[in-house]
């Protein structure tokens, strides 16, 4: 008989809140943060999308993440540690400093070999890659230009030399830890090291589906007995010094284009949507735990994970297959895994990016499989797209919605592409089962099914 898997703790970093309580309160208030991108990014390219959803300042020191670690880890790994620290604490685990290695923790009264780490990221340490690459490319030529400007350049050339030197700005060092900062697997490795966990340790790189795939595989690992507890979720950091990561999504035509009113620019499932809102990043970690293991510790689960499935479009690197046949197959497989049918589902946390292609196809599939019987929202309508973190953040929203019997609105939705049962107001309902789905560049589809814990 399969073991039951429950979520016993969670942690989150997002543009609308740091920590589960603030995040969820702000989600229910439909809070969003939309600001112009850092102004100097506009010097490097004529960007079509010049707004983003930036993160708040975060006090990592209070979670035991020291400056020493922050200088040796990409922000994507720092975020993962931070969210895991919150999640393990909320799950009731006691952390103590490891003897002789004061920067790492040991979790009291556990078998660390039965704890796995399953985290997703879309681009891993791309920030560190680009940051150090700029230093590699620009340090010497910039020094030559600055030296020439100081010693020999005629007065009429000073301005242009200064302009070029400004363009070639770079960080102060080529970091000797750059390889371990940029490698995607640093995300799960950093968490395993920080909390001294010696079970399976995996980083899933599946673009926008990374978080969902990580949570889903963690669920399977606990259910099938490979581990008793899984630290699962996703993390992403999407800013870089020169705005190149945003530019990549911008030239692909995926980002919000019509932002005359930044507050309403991001509008998943609306006929007037124009692309997704770029996020600075974020992270969410869910502690998945075998039910008896959780019961012995006396903790109350947030929700239960009961199903998971993944399919692949085999169609296009950047575009959903029209008709969404593989998405439908995925939904039905995830429900079959949970021994449920579409009629049992009350709530769907949609991928809902706000791109023309995604929302049309996704709405068609939801309409076909569920019709009006499920409430639908898009967490990206509040926080924008956090790529590899998004699936984990949305699984968290699904869990909290089931726990509290209410969920956030699908923000800025006026004229829906298809008239599904979109969440327009925050009100009590009685959800028993929720499904959270993600679709990724490449063609990966994944969904997790959660049930209210009884």
């Amino acid at each position: 008989m399969n073991r039951r898997v429950v979520i016993t703790g969670a942690g989150v970093i997002s543009s609308v809140g740091f920590g589960v309580d603030e995040f969820w309160r702000h989600c229910l208030q439909a809070k969003s943060v939309v600001t112009p991108v850092p102004s100097h990014w506009n010097r490097y390219a004529d960007l079509h999308s010049r707004v983003w959803s930036p993160l708040p300042d975060i006090d990592f020191e209070s979670s035991g993440i020291t400056r020493i670690e922050r200088l040796q880890l990409d922000p994507v790994s720092v975020f993962a540690i931070e969210a895991a620290h919150e999640a393990l604490g909320r799950a009731g685990y006691t952390l103590r400093a490891a003897a002789g290695k004061s920067r790492t923790f040991i979790i009291s009264d556990i078998d660390p070999s039965r704890f796995g780490v399953y985290l997703g990221t879309g681009i891993g340490g791309a920030y560190s890659f680009l940051h150090n690459h700029a230093h590699h490319l620009y340090e010497r030529p910039r020094a030559i230009i600055v030296d020439y400007a100081k010693k020999r350049a005629p007065a009429e050339n000073q301005q242009v030399l200064s302009d070029i030197a400004t363009f070639m700005m770079h960080g102060p060092r080529f970091n000797p830890f750059v390889v371990s900062m940029l490698m995607p697997n640093a995300v799960s490795a950093a968490v395993g090291i920080k909390f001294s966990l010696t079970g399976p340790n995996l980083t899933y790189c599946v673009a926008c589906a990374s978080g969902t795939v990580a949570v889903g595989n963690a669920y399977r690992a606990v259910r099938d007995g490979h581990v008793d507890v899984a630290v699962s979720g996703g993390s992403e950091y999407l800013a870089d010094d020169h705005g190149a990561i945003l530019r990549g999504f911008d030239v692909a035509g995926t980002l919000v284009r019509d932002y005359t009113d930044p507050e309403t620019a991001n509008r998943p499932f609306d006929r007037d949507r124009s692309g997704f809102l770029f996020s600075q990043g974020g992270a969410a970690v869910l502690v998945l735990e075998e039910l008896e293991h959780a019961r012995r510790r006396g903790v109350t689960p947030i929700a239960e994970v009961v199903g998971f499935a993944e399919t692949f479009d085999a169609h296009s690197m950047m575009s959903l297959a029209p008709g969404g046949e593989q998405i439908e197959r995925m939904i039905r497989a995830a429900l079959a895994d949970a021994d449920l049918t579409p009629r049992d589902v009350d709530y769907v946390n949609a991928h809902g990016t706000g791109t023309k292609n995604n929302d049309q196809t996704e709405a068609e599939v939801i309409d076909r499989v569920f019709g009006q019987s499920v409430r639908v929202n898009s967490t990206k309508s509040l926080i924008g797209h956090t790529i590899g973190a998004s699936g984990a953040i949305e699984a968290l929203v699904t869990a909290l919605s089931l726990r509290d019997g209410m969920t956030h609105v699908c923000k800025n939705l006026v004229d829906p592409v298809i008239d599904l049962n979109f969440v327009r107001v925050v009100e009590r309902f009685d959800p028993s089962v929720g499904l959270s789905q993600s679709f990724a560049f490449g063609g990966h589809n994944a969904a997790v099914v959660l049930r209210r814990f009884e």
């Binding site: 300042d57 975060i58 020191e61 200088l71 040796q72 700029a134 102060p172 060092r173």
Partner: protein
């Protein structure tokens, strides 16, 4: 969390805790060595050898110098630190660096 653009460098801005009391250069170097090597500040004597007495591995020394770069906002090229052996060598090197080069 701001992405800064300054004349001399880009830098990811993480909020730093305020120092409780101002320290001189030597105290800051000793504190940094103590933090990086996880040793009590009393163990960090000026004549202690980084490698032999404090058992700092090459990885520890790499870490020490990126943290010192951050602490003092100076770039420290690896070739300049190859010959530093003792804690006092590091203190003297940092003092010299602070006098010679502008903040990065």
């Amino acid at each position: 969390m701001t992405v800064e653009c300054a004349e001399a460098s880009f830098r990811m801005q993480f909020p730093q805790p305020a120092n409780s009391k101002p320290m001189n250069v030597q105290q800051r170097v000793l504190k940094t060595i103590s933090d990086v090597l996880n040793r009590g500040e009393s163990e960090i004597r000026l004549d202690a050898s980084l490698r032999d007495d404090l058992q700092a591995s090459s990885l520890d020394q790499m870490t020490l110098f990126i943290v010192l770069e951050d602490e003092f906002q100076r770039t420290i090229p690896q070739e300049e630190i190859a010959d530093l052996r003792t804690v006092k060598d590091v203190v003297d090197f940092i003092n010299k660096k602070l006098q010679e080069t502008p903040q990065t």
